[in-house]
């Protein structure tokens, strides 16, 4: 069954068509990689699905309801969440308090929200940093916190926007293991990532975006050998 579906979605920024009639779906329990060169429109797709941007045309459906143009908090409460490519910790708050903002979605009581958040931090290997102000974390720590915050809302579908960018190999392997364990828990994942090793290792399917258009939607091995995809990455008018 399709959990998230983009139907002919277009987004115009002035004269720039950042997303051009893109359609694809993410099925329950699937992990889909969303790839494409810088500026392809991946973050724009996330922003539209999470209520931060309205599409200029087209529809977005999540779990049987049309969600495009709905407010961000409502979409989160439905179980669809996103992380931010440029991380957005609540800088003055402690790491634990950051995660509690997520877990408060299911608890009114502070002690319960705290217990839940601590469990998430333990799972993320961050328990010993619980009391530290979020702004003092390293980049790897902040990327990880970004995921911990949304996981605490117990989402059905998680949209991860380059959570591995800027990490060392070891840190990256840790995050890959973490994403695997989330997937094994039944969380559906839409993954934007530049590192091909990570995308290939995690994805059941890959959607490739180029200049705002979908150019490929296939299994990872098939996509990697698709001439249009190779052209998009090596073709040269990008980087």
């Amino acid at each position: 069954m399709s959990l998230l579906e983009f139907r002919d979605v277009t987004r115009q920024f002035g004269g720039l068509r950042a997303i051009d009639q893109v359609s694809f779906e993410v099925r329950e329990n699937e992990t889909v990689g969303l790839i494409g060169p810088n500026g392809a429109g991946k973050t724009t797709l996330f922003s539209m699905a999470s209520g931060f941007l309205a599409p200029s045309a087209g529809e977005i459906w999540f779990s049987g309801a049309r969600i495009d143009g709905r407010p961000a908090p409502e979409i989160c409460r439905r179980g669809l969440v996103r992380t931010f490519q440029i991380v957005r910790p609540f800088g003055e708050m402690s790491v634990l308090d950051n995660v509690m903002i997520g877990s408060f979605l299911h608890h009114r009581d502070r002690a319960e929200a705290r217990a839940d958040a601590l469990a998430v931090l333990r799972r993320f290997g961050m328990a010993e940093r619980a009391g530290q102000p979020a702004r003092t974390l390293t980049l790897a720590g902040r990327k990880r916190l970004e995921v911990a915050k949304v996981i605490a809302t117990r989402p059905r579908l998680l949209m991860l926007d380059e959570v591995m960018a800027g990490l060392t190999r070891v840190e990256m392997d840790e995050i890959i293991a973490l994403i695997r364990s989330l997937r094994d828990d039944g969380v559906t994942i839409l993954l934007v990532e530049h590192n091909m090793h990570a995308v290939m290792a995690l994805s059941d399917r890959v959607v490739v975006i180029h200049h705002g258009r979908k150019i490929c939607d296939a299994e990872p091995e098939v996509a990697a050998n698709d001439p249009a995809v190779v052209e998009a990455y090596l073709g040269g008018d990008e980087e």
Binding site: A72, P73, R77, R88, F90, M93, L105
Partner: protein, 305 residues
Amino acid sequence: MAARALLLPLGAAGALLLPLAFGNPYALSVVILALLYAYLALSWNLIGGITGQLSLGHAAYFGIGAYTSTVLFADLGLTPWLGMLAGAVLAGIAAVVIGLPCFRLRGAYYALATLAAAVILKVVVENSNELLGGPRGLDVRLLHDAPLYFQHTSKLFYYYVVLLLVGGALAANRWCLRSRFGYYLTAIRNDQEAAAALGVDARRYKLLAAVLSAAMTAIGGTFYAQYALFISPEKVFGVHLSVQIAVICIIGGRGTLWGPLLGALLLLMVVMRFEPRGVIALLGRALSGSRRLSGKAAKVRREAA
């Protein structure tokens, strides 16, 4: 731990007994006004400190409180204790009316919009001669010793009332900081979009905080009216009052529990240091823009004595 547990009862006992330490009523007047400022700063803290919405229009709510209880008392004979609650409700409604358009604005634009809202209210009151007394203001009808009508010739009465207000405001701030509500407000101050991504309806929570803050501020307005026994647009709707409330909270530490209290204490100490005898005039002027507060209230009390 034991020391911390003792701190609260000791502080409370100290506050209750403090008036015994004052030989002259001037000192007590200064303390009452400092406590009123502390109360206002604590009220402002909910929206301006914890939520990070720099309101420069809180005189609007203070004035609504002062005028509502005073007019209800003068025209209907309603005790200001109840008029105070009516003022709080009206101020809460005003906070929604002001907040809905203003919360779309960020930073300095929000501050200026709230400031403008207070100025508009002041001008409206100044131009309503029949009902609200126009620019000259309103006297509160004198009953002398009538605690049931929120009036007394003894300053001690007002001291304990404002002490209660400060205690209540501290409790409200403490509850807020430890509840989901306060966590959400803090998250909104840090990054409203990031909070929205985690399911926090920022607009709703900002409005709730603004309503609570406005209602509490209005109660301070009624207290002031009953204490000074005279109100005017300049005194209770003035821009300087809005700015002072915000500044006291900010210098003490916005968003913290004890910051607003500390800010008021700092103000008190500065004033005491520079002019120990003229303190009341200074504080009175700071709050009201004239010497009439000390003048009239003192005269009433002299007559009564």
